[in-house]
Symmetry: C2
Subunit: 363 residues, 2 copies
């Protein structure tokens, strides 16, 4: 069953490198998640990095997954509370996290996934993969459930602060991701701001808006400013903001959804009539719960590096980890990385070479 | 019934100045809101600023309210889409909005309420009332529903950006408001940040945190950093942030609550069983709806000026406007303004004079 023996099959399989030691629960959850993805995507193969004894013990119970995986032993595991600098010092070259990312660099895998700590994973990804030529800072893109389906929001916390050019880069990369994930030809992009009028809001955001309008890109449709309440309405396919605001918006939305869920649970268990109502409507409540299940949209995508890395929530379970793996699978299968490269090239060609554009104008 | 004829009564009544022309609906909604508050708070009296014909026509149907109100004719009304500079030029000295604020300045009213446009109201309030001696920039404080009750979040959009000292000022003023509104002796304060560790996040926020810890104030209990999802959990009584982030967090939370409400409505009307369930549990759903009713917590409080001004949502109805009036009533009744003054004085005395503090240390 070693399909990797055959070149034809190898070209068609999708190799995901996995930091098996990452997350709050390590190998048991990570490996159970891999097994779930294998059932869903039979063409997936795994490179599992971590302690071979710990991984082997779990894999022994999953023979099908074992046949689709290769274990690469690592002596170091990055702890969830290691500082990025600490993690780099102790784990560079030898930790399961580093080697999972490095597998993408050396071409052994198409995409890497870790549930390890975000700061360490970003530091290692930057150090190992380096940023794309025109990109100064990577971003983390999250998938946000909306009334119209899903949108992409970036940056949700890779870095604090972004100048106008960086916001424009985020827009281009977010557009590429929307095309890869949602299969939309020209995704709509909004800049997160306060007040929808042109005169309002943050200087960097206003300048980025003018740049995006002037660039008139064929890959994305710039739709102006959006406000906090437009995100969940799905007003645009991609919402662009800098990492501090993006992270706070994301966590505020998650917190509010949980809060309303708590109110609902309390209301439904307070009276006998409510309990009877809950009994009749339990399928509807289950559907609602499934819709709001944070495990379904687990996974932050690191954009702007020479390779795709996906960060899973550290505390998630096997189902949640499988969602992050599936996101990785889709991103690699739909060639996110080459879309980003070519979109960035298009943008920079237009900026410096096309149609009498004046690059100085916006500075 | 003119209780203002009697000095004793006058000392006990609460005079609220109202911009009767503000909001999407003007006098009909504003005046109906005043009537609702009068029923709830019989000791309230109103100064109604605006077109006396329009106001008179509505008041004619509300004789009790008419007896508790004085109408002051204004020839200018600020439009909802006037720019702040435009509003100031056209409305200074004579618009209903300006004169409602001015009534607080000249002592005719204890607090002013307008549903007019935020930018214009803030510009006029700053121009007319001026900021408190130690305050450079005012803030808008919102009341945020939480799992533990309510919290105060500021700034939700008065200005973009805030340095560490301004964040500390917001903390002191928010603490005073929490004492006035929630009757807590020493409210807990958190600084909104990303990542709860001391080493993470925005520089200004980290510096403000150190300043608040060192100040060791008796009026507030500094509780460290909070993240977006901590707000709705009610982790602290007061959440402090700068206006851009605060505005986006507030609108994101409002949008998410509406979004979950839409999911719930859709789920409850999809199948017959769900509809039966809804029928039995309708009291529970009504309670939930009431709990999430944005009209209940309508009103942004302008802090840091020589007088209290409350901004109501422009699109609200009479019930919502009555909530903003009630908030104004409580703020004035519980002497928010003197609490802010004395708390700021305490803070500055401690900073420059107390216990060998070194004001240079934090700079």
């Amino acid at each position: 069953m070693h399909s990797t023996d055959n070149w034809q099959d190898m070209a068609q399989t999708m190799m995901i490198s996995v930091d098996a030691m990452g997350g709050d629960h390590g190998p048991p959850v990570v490996i159970a998640g891999c097994e779930q993805l294998l059932l869903r995507r039979p063409d997936v193969r795994f490179l599992l990095f971590g302690d071979e004894t710990a991984i082997g013990a779990v894999l022994a119970a999953h023979p099908k997954l074992a046949a689709a995986s290769e274990v690469r032993h690592c002596t170091v595991a990055i702890a969830m509370d290691d500082k990025p600098s600490q993690a780099l010092r102790a784990g560079r070259g030898k930790s399961s996290m580093w080697r999972a990312v490095d597998a993408v660099k050396i071409g052994d895998a198409q995409v890497a996934v870790s549930a390890g700590n975000t700061g360490a994973l970003m530091a290692m990804s930057k150090f190992c993969l380096r940023t794309l030529p025109s990109i100064e800072r990577p971003a983390i893109a999250a998938i946000w459930p909306t009334l119209r389906g899903e949108s992409i929001v970036l940056d949700v916390g890779a870095t604090i602060g972004a100048d106008a050019q960086q916001l424009v880069d985020f827009a281009v990369m977010g557009g590429a991701m929307a095309r890869a994930l949602f299969h939309i030809e020209r995704p709509s992009i909004g800049l997160l701001n306060i007040g929808a009028e042109e005169v309002k809001g943050l200087d960097e955001v206003r300048t980025a808006g003018a740049m995006l309008r002037d660039a008139n890109l064929t890959t994305i449709a710039y739709g102006g400013f959006v406000e906090g309440d437009d995100i969940g309405q799905g007003k645009v396919d991609v919402v662009v903001t800098e990492g501090f605001v993006g992270n706070i918006a994301l966590k505020t939305a998650e917190g509010t959804a949980r809060q309303v869920g708590s109110y609902l649970r309390a209301a439904m268990s307070r009276t006998l009539m409510a309990k009877i109502g809950y009994f009749f409507a339990r399928d509807a409540f289950n559907r609602l719960r499934a819709k709001m299940d944070p495990r379904k949209l687990n996974g932050g995508v690191f954009l702007g590096l020479n390779g795709i890395v996906i960060k899973s929530h550290g505390g998630t379970d096997a189902e949640g980890f499988a969602s992050a793996l599936d996101l990785a699978y889709q991103m690699a299968r739909n060639d996110l990385q080459s879309k980003i490269r070519s979109d960035l090239e298009d943008y920079h060609r237009g900026k410096f070479g096309g149609l009498g554009a004046e690059p100085e104008r916006m500075s």
